[in-house]
Amino acid sequence: MLSKLWKAILFVGIALVFTGAFLWSSLKEGLGDFTRVLYFHVPVAWITVVFFFMAAYYSYRYLRTKDILFDAYAKISNELGILFAIMATITGSIWAKVIWHSFWNWDPRETSIFILLLIYGAYFSLRSAIEQEDRRARLAAVYSLLAFVTVPFFIFIVPRIYFSLHPDPVINPQGKINLDVKQRIIFFSSLFFQTILFLWIFIVRKTQVKLQMYLREYKETKLLEEK
């Protein structure tokens, strides 16, 4: 019942965000209709950071407990994190094409996300290179923790140190939010509903992996018993 209620609230919330973004939102000077990208691009970038953090958290839990389930959760978090990083890159580069007349400019923000994609891409290369389950999980957990150390540096520090064509982040270096009332309402609603939706995706994936592992273990035990 609660689950159905949440789904209904999410559906209505996301429909309202879409309607607000395209029909109600005021436009920022210099951005015009591309102000609307803000309501989708920024939350996706935020969720990327959340997933990379969750990957680091589950990697830490794995190293503490050696429970292989935590390794699987860390892998899911990194998969989703990289998916959302790609989405942030795509929405950002389409925006760049219109505003800067080029899809890619090696701007500090673009360079940062590119390096992050390489770092997290290497996580999956590392996993696929090791066959032994325990060793793979241990090395991947250590790598994931080290990779997360670079996230705040590339997402929050580098773009603020170097000159960037990228518009001021929503919360600029002076700590002020550069949005009017309408934009704030749509932006924070979008951030809230998208975060809930993506956490829901994560929970469904977690359940899927858990059941797959359970079934695999059951079949292996059954096979052994039959032998």
């Binding site: 209709d33 591309f34 609307r36 989405m87 939706l197 829901w200 994936r205 359970y214 079934l215 059951y218």
Partner: protein, 52 residues
């Protein structure tokens, strides 16, 4: 093409993809639960999923 339509199309494509992914994953979970139920193991697996 008007800029607003470009933004709308990009977002619709992304969101459709996300909902499709969620739908596929959710369907896979239901199938797995069914498979476990068929194996008469639901009692144990329920405690597993409840830990979420």
């Amino acid at each position: 093409m008007n800029a607003v339509y470009v933004v709308l199309i990009i977002n619709l494509v992304i969101w459709t993809g996300l909902f499709f992914y969620l739908y596929k994953t959710d369907r896979s979970v239901r199938q797995l639960k069914q498979e476990i139920e068929d194996l008469d193991l639901m009692k144990d697996s329920k405690s597993l999923t409840d830990q979420n």
